[in-house]
Symmetry: C2
Subunit: 133 residues, 2 copies
């Protein structure tokens, strides 16, 4: 049975309130800073649950897991700014088809794929150009 607790709601709200990928630790700090008394273990559990239910997407970067509440409910990928973390959701039917056919061509079954694109967004690129030259 799955219960609705204010803790889960708090985690989901905190996640929905941002449009970039956050680590569990960072989310926990933010919640504590906002006056919540939620525990770190609970944040990890809530995030794992959300990810499993498809309510959130996750990716690994620099040795830690980052999570994000996604607007599109279906399967999609991300274009992530490596400087500010801003994230754009992208659809890529071609990629899905390519992954499926490539897997099949090599006799692989039940293909899953990890596709994420990192880059420097226009704003950050401009900021860097202005500082460095």
């Amino acid at each position: 049975m799955k219960r609705r607790t204010w803790q889960r709601a708090a985690v989901q709200d905190a996640l929905t309130g941002r449009d970039d990928f956050v680590s569990a630790q960072a989310l926990h700090s933010q919640l504590r800073a906002d006056g919540s008394s939620i525990g770190l273990a609970t944040v990890y559990r809530a995030l794992a649950d959300l990810a499993e239910e498809g309510e959130a997407d996750s990716l690994q970067a620099e040795g830690e897991s980052l999570y994000r509440a996604c607007a599109s409910p279906g399967h999609h990928h991300h274009l992530i700014c490596r400087s500010c973390g801003r994230t754009v959701e992208i659809e890529a039917d071609d990629i899905e088809a390519w992954a499926a056919s490539t897997a099949a061509a090599h006799g692989f079954r039940d293909p899953q794929h990890v596709v994420d694109v990192f880059g420097t967004c226009a704003a950050c690129a401009a900021r860097q150009d202005a500082r460095i030259p």
Copy 2:
């Protein structure tokens, strides 16, 4: 200055001797089992160096980094069996082009991408079918 030590060679050899992704820990165990007295820290260092020099590819899975000596020298992706770890190297010019144009379309600069496909290889699928029904 970069020196040639038997430890680096041992790590590279051990990596070349397998065609699947291995964790630093597993590689270290294997080397020790083979009678080497190499240290864990050294294995980590050697793998990080190999990855940086493009001699090996790495990916993150289940909270740990996995490494593999790759046959193709250039940029490519992987099709990995989630059951036995067997890996097939795949070229995907379409993906490169797609990643570049998608990034550009959103104003992102210097795109890098992570593209890996996981599945169950024919052998493992057959083994599972034979055991479960």
